[in-house]
Structures are given as structure tokens and as C-alpha cells.
Symmetry: C2
Subunit: 250 residues, 2 copies
DNA sequence: GTTGACTTCCCGTATAGTGGGAAATAGAGT
DNA sequence: ACTCTATTTCCCACTATACGGGAAGTCAAC
């Protein structure tokens, strides 16, 4: 099918405006469209309140209807939506699956994932929940809880999932401290034998952790020899980029 | 000038989608457009990431580019932008000016206002700041501060602006309590003789007060005889509507 | 398998968008 | 105040572009 030209162009303009407010001729330059075309499109966008004028002058910026539409997206969907392109980028770079988790009581709930391109890959956990102490995302969440909440968590029974699962409160406390320092957590085969995983926090504008970004793969190839830190940095970097995207928003 | 049809229609679709995600035929029904047209527009919107498909199926919802564009709007502008239509509505109903304030230290900073249609009207305070204790918006902000912050505020010197200005800490404390109970504050000629004003809080998703909505007018006609409560309710209602619009957003 | 609801695709038509250029307006410099 | 330039607004003839009816394809339920 063929894309509707005026819509493509209109969104091109909106995209420019989301970087900087601008006038007609400036937009004409950046988009390469004739001024008359830009003027007409802006007029239409203004009528639909997708853009508004700055102080009555002919300097345009993103308008109310865009804000309203975006606010109709619920927080989880919003996180997913904002993260989507970053997830794709991460999977491309690492070659392993990347996903998002949100806290749900004492569990991490997985809300989305992009699978690795490898033929051998880990099942998609989207829609399921796992206890916080066995997955790196969980440790990340715990690391941003108040001490007393963490203590309450540690008092409740912690199941062992594999021989390597750490369930000792003192060891978990230690991991939490480390998570705060490093900004990421690696766990090796603690949830399931043969799976390694790394996670980093995603923050909202207020600095609260609203979700986690993780990447995981089969332990025989992930992480590759002495690549742990490189991978972790990449994951943290992507997580910040996602935070940034959610970012400025109220 | 004539509005570009496809843009108008595209935003009609986006508007529908911001209420509910939907498929092609449903949108065709709600917008009154032929399915082929809806399909083509959606295809274009999808390519620009203004919409995305829910789970790969052909159920569409608001997409990443809308969220990204909205997040590029800074919080103050965002508040203004989101509030604009509500402000207009309020001015229409009350016939008096309505405006927005944000906290700035111990002052309220006015970021926007729509003037009353009356020939006799109050000057536009946009861009200026006033001490919290003399304007109702200020009392609203104080009412949502922690006790100790309020006490610190009350310890700093409070200027008198008119004979009616209340500067006694105990009276201000009392007003703060009342503000919390009622959700609004009326002040009569405390900032300037001949001006009465009422304000209510605007909250973000997390329940924090990010701004205030106020309405003010000359004391000889505002508030009209025994209309105080009606007006206050209207202002509170509008403030909630604005909170709602900012609302769900992260 | 059959039915019905929905989506995708095709293609002829003409409407609706386009862009060049002129006119009007705003802004900067002297 | 006046000129010169940059920018926006308006007009209009042209045809590229969006349109929508309808057919074909897909999917799900029964």
C-alpha cells in the first residue's frame, strides 16, 4: 500500500517541532518542502490542535491534542511503547533477547520482550511473573525500596528454583547494595539452569524506578567471555535512554 | 485557507483511538469513513508510528511517536497546553478570568491566564510572582507541603499588602487546614483592594500538586451574592479535569 | 464445510492537495 | 521615516494524489 503523502509530511513537521519550535520558513528548510505546503499543513495541524502558536506569533510547537492523546496511554503501555525502539536496538547489538519488567507485589511481572534472532533462544516470558529474589530485575527493584520494605520481603519465605538460587537474606542484602552501586545486576542460572540474565533500572522524571530492562540468553553463549561489563554497560545505557524518553514528561 | 482533508481525518481517527483501541471496521463506523479509507490512513499512521498494532493483530492504538512528541513538551508548557481548553471553558462559565500558577520558592508564579470578557477586568499576571500567603493559590501549595516546610515558611517575614492581608501564622495555619478539607481557598482583597480570588489544586498522576487553577475578579461583582460555593465547586471540578488530562501519564 | 465479519488489495475517477509565484506583513538596519 | 530582506499569507491552474466501491482474501465461529 502507498503511504498518504500529506500525513507523512505532517508527521515530519511534527517531528521537527518536537525537537524545536519553529516557524514556517525554518520548517520549509529542514523538511525540504515549499513554504506554501508547510503553511497549509501547519494550518491543518493547528485546526486539529496538534500544534499551537507560541504567543500568537507564527512560531509553532506541539499542541494540546498530542499531549491529550499521549496521556490516554496507560503507564505500562506507555513504558512499552516508549521502550520499543530501544529494545530493538539492544537486541540488535547484543544478539540476545531483551525485555521489560514492572514490580507486582513481591514478583517481577514481564510486560514485553523482543526475542533474539538466534535459532536457539529462551522462551518469551511476557505476561508471566517471577519472584524478585531469583531474577536480576527483582534485585533492581529491591535496591530501590526503603530498607524496611526490603526487610519485610526478606522475612517472607524465599523459594529455591535451581541449585544455584541464592535465598540467604544476608547474601541478598549484599547483592542489593552492589546493585545500588553498579546500577545493574547479573544473575547466573538462579532462576533456571542454563539461563543467565542482566538487568538495569528505568526511572521516571521523579527518579522513581518504574520498570527494569533486562537481557538474557543461554549460559553457554551469554555472556560471552569477559564481556559481562560491556554488556551490562550497554543495558544500563539503553535503560537510561528509555528513562530519558519517558523523561521530561510530567 | 482550506484544511487538508487527510490530516483532519487522520486526527479524527487518532482521537477515536485515544478513547479506545479499535480495528478498521469499528473506526469506519465511528468516523463515518469507508473502510478502505480508514485502512489507508491507518497504514500511513502506522508507518509514522503514530499508531501501533496491539499484539500484531489489526487492533490499533496510539503509538510511540505521539508519546515521544508529547514528552518533548516541558512540564510547564505541558500544564499550560493541557489546561488551555479547560481554562477557556471556565472563563466562559464564570465570566471571570482564570489562570494557572506553579510554585517558585515561597512565591506563586503565574504561567498563564485567560481574561474575562468583561470590559472591566483585572490585569493579566502572567509571568509574575506573588508571595504564597497573600494569594489563594499559595495557600493551596502550602496545604500540600510537609508540616515542617510550612513552619519554615511561617517563620520567614510575611509582608502585608492590604489592610485585610492576613499575616498571622496561626490564622494561616488554620486556612491551610481548611484548604485541605475543602479542596479550595477563597481570599478577599488580601493581595490588592478590590480583587477577590479562589483557587484549587492540580495534581499529577502521583498525587503531587504541580500547579493551581484560580479565578479572580473585581470584588464588586465577584463572587456574586451567595455564589461562593458554586464557583468554588466549578473551579475544583475544572482543576480535576486538568489533573485528569495530565493524569495517567507517567 | 459454510457463514459472516473484517481486512487487504486493486484500479478508474476526479477531487483534493500541491507548489510556483505574487501580495502582504513583519523585522532589522540606517 | 524609509529601505531592504526575510517571512508569511494568499491565489490559482495543474495534475498528482487521495479517494472509495467493490472484489478478493483472511480469520473465526459454528
Amino acid at each position: 500500500m502507498k503511504i498518504v503523502q500529506s500525513i507523512e509530511r505532517a508527521f515530519g513537521i511534527l517531528h521537527e517541532l518536537s525537537k524545536n519550535s519553529a516557524g514556517i520558513s525554518e520548517l520549509s528548510r529542514t523538511t525540504g518542502l515549499p513554504t506554501s505546503t508547510v503553511a497549509r499543513l501547519l494550518y491543518s495541524l493547528e485546526k486539529t490542535e496538534a500544534v499551537e502558536r507560541e504567543g500568537g506569533k507564527s512560531v509553532y510547537r506541539i499542541g494540546p491534542s498530542i499531549v491529550t492523546m499521549a496521556s490516554s496511554v496507560n503507564p505500562t503501555q506507555r513504558l512499552l511503547t516508549a521502550a520499543q525502539p530501544h529494545l530493538r536496538g539492544l537486541v540488535e547489538v547484543l544478539g540476545e533477547a531483551a525485555g521489560l519488567g514492572i514490580p507486582a507485589g513481591y514478583d517481577v511481572h514481564y510486560i514485553g520482550e523482543i526475542d533474539s534472532p538466534h535459532p536457539i533462544q529462551i522462551r518469551d516470558w511476557t505476561g508471566t511473573s517471577l519472584p524478585m529474589h531469583i531474577v536480576p530485575s527483582g534485585i533492581i527493584f529491591l535496591a530501590h525500596w526503603p530498607e524496611e520494605a526490603v526487610e519485610a520481603f526478606l522475612r517472607h519465605p524465599l523459594d529455591r528454583f535451581t541449585p544455584k538460587t541464592v535465598i540467604s537474606p544476608s547474601e541478598i542484602r549484599h547483592r542489593i547494595v552492589e546493585a545500588r552501586e553498579k546500577g545493574h545486576v547479573w544473575l547466573f542460572e538462579e532462576f533456571s539452569e542454563g539461563i543467565n540474565s542482566v538487568a538495569a533500572p528505568i526511572f521516571n522524571h521523579a527518579g522513581a524506578v518504574v520498570g527494569t530492562l533486562h537481557s538474557h540468553g543461554p549460559s553457554f553463549r551469554f555472556p560471552a567471555e569477559s564481556m559481562e561489563d560491556v554488556i551490562a554497560n550497554r543495558v544500563m545505557q539503553t535503560a537510561s535512554a528509555i528513562s530519558e524518553t519517558l523523561g521530561h514528561t510530567q
